[in-house]
Symmetry: C2
Subunit: 307 residues, 2 copies
């Protein structure tokens, strides 16, 4: 396809369709509810939210394509050395993407997040960004290796250094600094990619599409493998605490969330990422040698899951 | 008493004792657990946390007194016009305070927050700060008037303009901008007060002490009045959503929380403010004419509760 903003947002809508379809099929009973919304300043979106499914307790697969006057701070963050000529600050932008967060009912099925986004300005800036990361309530080495292995496959197809670069980026990004814990087992993350020392824009675009296409088969496999397993009340309780950490990350650190809340974004779409229910216990201590402790021990940067 | 930092922190410890005593008595079964902690960089605190009481589901009455090298940004925020001489940036600080958040079990008992704090530097800065605000899950006009009436009494005893000034400050501070909602019905809030156009430091200190002393009788009265009332599962569900908003405020906006998390504060003490359990429902709509809608309608700045 020719890479135009219209083609990109059409492709993302198709991706949203196919992901919702795959998730509904694996869930077995939950159905996405669709809502189309319009942004006053330009553009809009198509929200798809699922609640109280058989496997998925709460989740969203959100498409948006918005446009308007480019906010100054967006460009400045990376281009602070460039003097802000009026031509630059008065540019218009177009941004489109698909964002997904799935909170399963069972503590034995991991939380997953995926986002791919494209941003351009009338001045010629074109940026690709995205990532997939997994937050198991209980870390299972086999699943973690499967997950990272699949992401490595996607990356390796495009450039041999991408998995290692973008895995490190995810480790650093999905980090709850005040807890000194990663949010989960990471995955891949990249932002503001156009051409780089490895690939040109078209090649990076193909990689970006493959990240989007990888989501459904990966998560469907993890749902399928774990959804039937029995769990205890204690494990459900632990899930609430892990979800509490997820809330902490999203509200304190996540750049997309901050950006959305500060720029008068659609609150319900932005905070779709929060779980149906989450909990906090004062100074909770895990038992020595428990599965919970095993999980905490692995919420660290720099673990190599695909050796 | 002579106003020295030692006397202030001793007085605060006494206040913590008397508040815990009053809350335990009214709760009937819950007991505070105490933990003493030391801050590596200087000072420490005495945490008192109550969980699974008869009335209180989760709450903390936290005392701390910490010291160290004054962080630059703390002074700069208000004193940006003053050039930062090395004498100033290398000053030491002392900060002491009592912070309280109480999350009751019943949705018919309001959440309450109180904080009083004192800050000084070796350069002679002395600041008093504090406030009390109430977050009812369901706003009851009579309780709101009682609450604000008591705060007005405390303020009026010291200066006729304080209630109006500090009530407005609370309305603006306890505001969830992305929701366009106040956190609750507000209360009073003030920060960085030394002498001002109304009172000298000693007089403001007396006011500050009275704010601290007002907390227990006010909240005990609200517990007592509402704790025996029967409530429904739907009301309990609504409580989870209101607590979700509380989490949003604390993690996204609250300056004390941000400051604590960014300066390597004691995470468990800082996040004691979060409820045992909270919830989020996508795009939740209240029923026309319901008590929930009545509450949302009153989560606004500028309501006069003591006319």
């Amino acid at each position: 396809m020719e890479i135009t903003k219209e083609n990109i947002s059409d492709w993302l809508k198709g991706l949203q369709d196919s992901i919702c379809q795959a998730l509904e099929t694996e869930d077995g009973s939950g159905k996405f509810k669709e809502e189309n919304w319009i942004r006053e300043e330009g553009g809009g979106g198509r929200s798809r939210v699922i609640e109280n499914g058989e496997v998925i307790e709460k989740g969203g697969v959100m498409f948006s394509a918005v446009s308007g006057k480019t906010p100054d701070f967006l460009l400045k963050e990376k281009e602070h050395s460039v003097s802000s000529s009026s031509a630059q600050t008065e540019s218009t932008f177009f941004a489109t993407g698909v964002s997904i967060v799935i909170h399963p009912k069972s503590p034995l099925v991991p939380i997953i997040h995926m986002n791919i986004r494209y941003f351009e300005t009338s001045n010629g800036t074109k940026w690709l960004g995205g990532g997939i990361d997994l937050t198991p309530h209980y870390i299972v080495d086999e699943d973690a290796s499967f997950f990272h292995g699949k992401l490595k496959e996607v990356c390796d197809k495009h450039h041999y250094s991408y998995y290692s670069e973008f895995k490190t980026w995810a480790d650093n990004y999905f980090y709850i600094n005040h807890r000194k814990e990663t949010r989960g087992i990471g995955g891949i993350f990249f932002d503001r990619v156009n051409q780089n020392e490895h690939l040109n824009f078209e090649q990076n675009f193909a990689f970006w599409q493959d990240v989007g296409k990888a989501f459904a088969p990966i998560y469907v496999e993890l749902m399928h493998k774990n959804k039937g397993k029995a769990y205890t009340d204690d494990q459900k309780q632990w899930q609430l605490l892990r979800r509490g950490r997820y809330v902490e990350f999203n509200l304190v650190y996540d750049k997309g969330t901050k950006f959305g809340l500060e720029t008068n974004g659609r609150v319900e779409s932005i905070l779709m990422s929060l779980p149906a229910i989450a909990g906090w216990v004062y100074d909770y201590k895990v038992k020595e040698g428990s599965e919970e402790q095993n999980t905490l021990n692995k919420l660290k940067k720099g673990i190599n899951w695909v050796s």
